[in-house]
Structure formats: C-alpha cells, structure tokens
Symmetry: C2
Subunit: 203 residues, 2 copies
Amino acid sequence: MASSLPTRDEQVLDQRALDVLFHSARTANGFLPQPVSEQTLRDVVEAMKMAPTAMNALPLRVVFVTTDEGRARLIPALMPGNVAKVESAPVTAILARDLEFYQHLPRLFPHAPQAYFDNARANADEASLQNATLQAGYFILAARAHGLDAGPMGGFDRAKVDAEFFPKGTSKSILLVSLGYGDDSKLYPRNPRLDFEEIAAFA
Amino acid sequence: MASSLPTRDEQVLDQRALDVLFHSARTANGFLPQPVSEQTLRDVVEAMKMAPTAMNALPLRVVFVTTDEGRARLIPALMPGNVAKVESAPVTAILARDLEFYQHLPRLFPHAPQAYFDNARANADEASLQNATLQAGYFILAARAHGLDAGPMGGFDRAKVDAEFFPKGTSKSILLVSLGYGDDSKLYPRNPRLDFEEIAAFA
C-alpha cells in the first residue's frame, strides 16, 4: 500500500484534508441509504493497522455488522437512544480488544527478548485496553479519511455484546462505531470545545 | 478554523495524505535539530480537540515539554531506552487525563440533564481513561497531519511524571509523545502487521 516516503514539504496535509479529518467532520447521528463497499472497510483496517501501538501489539479487533441478522444480534445490547442510528447505518463496527494479543508478539515484534513477551502477557488487560483504545481513535479517523462518517457509541451493554459476538471470552468490546454516509439533516448542533489554554501548557 | 462542509466526493483523502497519516509514516526514534513552531503545536491541539469523545468530554490534557528545564524534569521518569529520543526531540508532549473533566460538561454538553453529569462524575476514572486515550490516538495523527513525526512512549514512571507535572493530583499521565522532524537514519526496520482476517470479521 505504501508509496515512497514523501519529502518534508509534502508532509503537511492541506486544509481540505484537515477539514475532512477534524474541522468539518461531524459525528453522524443517522445515515443515508447508501451502501459501504467491502473494499472501503478493508481499506480502513489496512490504514488503521499501520499506526503505532506499544510493541506493535495491534490488539484491536473489529466485527463489521453489515447484515440484518447481525443488527438483530446487536440491537438488544444498545441503549434505546442508539437503536435508530444502528438501524439506519449500513455498517456498525464492534471494536474490541484481544486479551491474548501477546500470542502474536514473536511475529509482530521479532527483535525483542522473551522477557518482553512475558511482561506483555502479565499486563495484558491494561495493555490491551490502552493500545486498542488508541487504535479506536485511529480507526475513526481512518474511516473519515476514506470518505465515511462515523458515529461512535459508548452506550451499550458490553457483557451482552461480548456474550453474543465474542463467546470464547478472549476479546472484550470497547466501543461501537456506526459507519456510512451521514444524513446531515440528522446532525445535532455542534457542541463547543475547550480553549487551547484549558487543554495545553508548556514546560 | 472550519471551512464549509466538503461535498461527498471531496471527502476521500488522496493517496499522498493517506501515506502521510498511515502508510508511509513511521514512529520516530530520533529527531533532526529543527525546531517546531508554537503555532504548529497549537494547530495540532485545535485539530485534535474537534474529534469525538463521549459527551464531548475532552478529558485529554497536554504538557508540551520544549525547554531544557522541562526535559530535565521529565528525563528521570523515563526508561533508559527512551532518554536519547527525548533529548533529541524539540518537543515531548506529556498526555494526561483530567479526572475532573466533568466540571466542564455543563458548558461542553449543554443540552444534557444533570443526571448525565452526575453519572460522568461517578465514572470519571474509566471515562477519562477511555476518552483521553481515544484523543491520544487523534493527537498522534493530528501531529502527522501537521507535518510532524511522532514517537509515542508508554515506558515511563507515571507516578514520577504525575508528581512532577501534575502535583494537584487531578490529572494522570497516560502517554508520552516526542514530536519533531524525524531523523530517518535512526528509524528501526518496519515491523510486520497482522493480516486483515486476523483483525476483522463480518457479521
């Protein structure tokens, strides 16, 4: 997928791209009846997986719910306010963390000594949570970068989703993200943001 | 900052932008002696803060360590393998979560009933961890989008960083991210990634 490294001056995105990713993008609250191609979903994952995780551990797992049967399994776990969004979304991604991600480390981080892998296993709960959540952030922006609107949802019954979609017990859901082409007529007014000085300082 | 919403066809980033964000970008392991402007750091924060968090809570806090005095306070908390990277980086960002983020919710999420704010306060530890970590993912990609190379580091003594930089005890560090213009001669070989089928499934 990768081209050669861009030169320094080529590494700043233009305003249009910054708008698509950050400034103009909005959290979708409803979707147009327009399908999302499987290739687009694959491209989102191929982009997301390139961004950094500790020890290149890549613990995020994704179930793309794209069928009526899949939605019928997911909807009972939703908070009532999220049902219409998922029903209108051509895709809802269940983002989860693989608690046994460390099994892949000898392949993903091949130069490290065994002690690193043992340590990852001992800290698998915390490490999978931190790194899969970082990857959830990458996932949302990768979806936007591929022309999709995203509707992340934390309001769902994780135990129900895990029992239904991850019955082996080795993955735990962290976030749902509806994906599609947003219906702008369903957008809420944009909420205010903190000022720079409320977020950041210099030392 | 925002321009008008791009039309649908304009919402897919071109391959160059996808390369800058994901496919060609690399985790920096050393930096060129080239400063980062304060305006660039401000632009990164202004972009990052627009991406979604639950209840628009925006719990991420950032301390940009840009001075020799700041680095001298940070370096004792680093794992030995990260010292050279931080010493060579014009900026190292300390990313932290504000445990009292809920104090801003009546302004940031003004239409919600008080019960939402009470619930956020009751779940402030988990909510600040999840949402600030999502924002850490946005931050890394926002840095890349503004032409910077990023070197995220989880290997540091969080208690030492918190005591030194967050003595009030209301913020807790989650990640360090060195920022600057990467010295490509210091890059490690790229590690392999999981295949799509190891990450994702359809339902």
